[in-house]
Symmetry: C2
Subunit: 352 residues, 2 copies
């Protein structure tokens, strides 16, 4: 039966990279007998400038009916920073209850990493970032704004329900992997939020005696991600810490251009959304210099989520086959345009 995918290419390099992901998915659909129907939504900077709205209610209702959303990137110098990121990305994550932000950190063979001597078998972890609460809720305020006595507060709100469902997802995922879950927080300083996270983690861990666990402070995590990524299998953490350490993870695995993510609603009460970790990179848009690997690998997570593990594997293998041919992971030195990369991946899938 047909699966409807809402495509939101967005701004900057978003349309270029998602076009390659669509191409790869279509090749996989032919090869593995899937029936995918795409519906494109022109959201982003232009839409906002023309309509004054980021996502109107009726478009949101349309998106809600999709089986999944494939998202490019938003953000443009013509729009005040944050408007599209919060109004679109953060809004949809919350509105569609996509409470797990799944971000694999995997060094693929043939990809140059900035970390000296790091081998692919040492770097294969998955970071699960809580995606609907924490410091992202927008709670806080000002007192005496603009004056010498101004105070600005910013509040992280963590619910037992929100923390527990994210952690449970981590233990489920670890069961099918190397059976190790690490909690990352700063519990010695953030004593309230950290206490809830640690207590919940310990309670869920007690139900999973076959899974080993560890706790690492977020500052130490930054060190370990660089020096000992092999320590980690599944990592669970809050929204802000997850935002920070996944960018570092992207650096370790060879760059933002390669990093994939899935905003998952595991209950399927609303669609999940798949997007590369990179932004809209307006500076290189339209030149064919963007690496579409992050978008194609995000589409692979989407196919997996939609119940097509072989097709997902097909996309991954296609990307793995083409990446070693690149001269650089981004820019004119890539030696292959964004589109040629997509064509090569699609060809690899068709021939597989």
């Amino acid at each position: 039966s047909t699966q409807r995918i809402a495509l939101v290419p967005g701004d900057g390099i978003g349309p270029e990279v998602t076009a390659q992901a669509v191409k790869a998915c279509d090749a996989a659909a032919r090869r593995f007998g899937l029936d995918l129907a795409w519906e494109e939504y022109e959201l982003g900077a232009d839409y906002w400038r023309i309509t004054g709205q980021v996502v109107p209610k009726d478009v949101e209702q349309e998106l809600a009916k999709a089986d999944a959303i494939l998202f490019g990137a938003v953000g443009d110098p013509s729009v005040p920073p944050g408007v599209l990121e919060r109004g679109l990305v953060i809004h949809l994550r919350t509105a569609f209850d996509q409470y797990v932000n799944l971000r694999p950190v995997k060094l693929l063979p043939g990809v140059p990493t900035p970390i000296e001597g790091l081998r692919p078998e040492q770097c294969d972890l998955v970071i699960l970032r809580e995606n609907t609460e924490g410091a992202y809720v927008g709670a806080g305020g000002f007192i005496h704004r603009g004056g010498p006595d101004e105070i600005a507060t910013q509040e992280s709100v963590n619910t037992r329900k929100g923390v527990e469902r994210l952690i449970r997802h981590g233990f489920r995922l670890a069961t099918g992997r190397r059976k190790h879950v690490t909690l990352v927080h700063k519990a010695n300083i953030l004593t309230y939020a950290g206490d809830l996270w640690q207590r919940t983690f310990e309670e869920v861990a007690a139900e999973h005696p076959d899974i080993t666990v560890d706790y690492v402070h977020v500052d130490a995590m930054c060190l370990y991600l660089v020096t000992q990524p092999e320590r980690f299998d599944v990592v669970v953490t809050d929204n802000l810490f997850g935002d920070i350490i996944t960018d570092l993870g992207a650096a370790v695995q060879g760059g933002l251009g390669l990093a994939a993510s899935g905003n998952l609603n595991p209950t399927c009460s609303a669609p999940s959304m798949f997007e590369p970790v990179h932004g809209s990179a307006p500076d290189i848009a339209g030149r064919g210099w963007a690496n579409p690997a992050g978008s194609i690998l995000s589409a692979a997570l989407m196919l997996e989520h939609l119940g097509h593990p072989e097709a997902a594997r097909g996309l991954e293998d296609g990307v793995k086959a083409v990446l070693p041919r690149l001269g650089a992971m981004r820019g004119p030195e890539m030696g292959m345009s964004t589109e040629d990369f997509g064509d090569a991946v699609a060809a690899a899938i068709s021939e597989s």
Copy 2:
């Protein structure tokens, strides 16, 4: 005239590394004609276990009279996590209004960095972390603690005064360096705290037309610290982001064992405190496997702060001379014990 330095060796490897820093300072005092008087305070895990107190009021008053504090590290498996860190380190930073946490990230010649191909001239920045407020104030609480509807909040409190004095220190420091200041925050999401930081940054920047400025999100910062550290000269950021990115900075410059820090009270209304970025590392304590470079370089920051730039340079040069002789930056592979390292640095200072 005599300058009184309070020595707080602390737990684990703290006493081993500070002993080398004292040795280096004493060598520099002889060589450069300083008059340093040390007073040792036995705070830390043992003290807490015996007395039930972390820092009694009278000891704090003693410390307050010192010209500077040289701090080792605290923390021991026998003490609940956080008790000593918060009760001693965080408490003194706040009580003595040490509002600037200065952490150089400098790749020294001959030190192996995990970052492939990184050269010393590409990595020489100073991170100034706000050290008295933000998420470290301990504000927050629980609702329905322990139940399924529990909510835990954690609040970051930022004052105009606190933000401005830290930023001003950054611009002062940049004036004597490469004249570039970068603000690191997550202003697109933490809209209240980020707005205060950005507004204050722009106002202070407007007073310094000779200094170039930049803004970088904390997640992107983690990427850039690894891939383009040459982008940065002076970095200003809040307490929690500073905690996170300075550990990453330590990794980039070759490991936590090498990273120095100064908790500065630039008004000198109370003593400043100098400590290596590393912790007490109880697992390797007492074996001579700790690298005292972080402690000695922290002592160099102290001598600088006390008005002895040549002596400070002496310590730095001593460390630079000895580091390339090590087989590894830590552990038995170091090829030189903690004490031998200190002796070698002291000898280098005496012979300079």
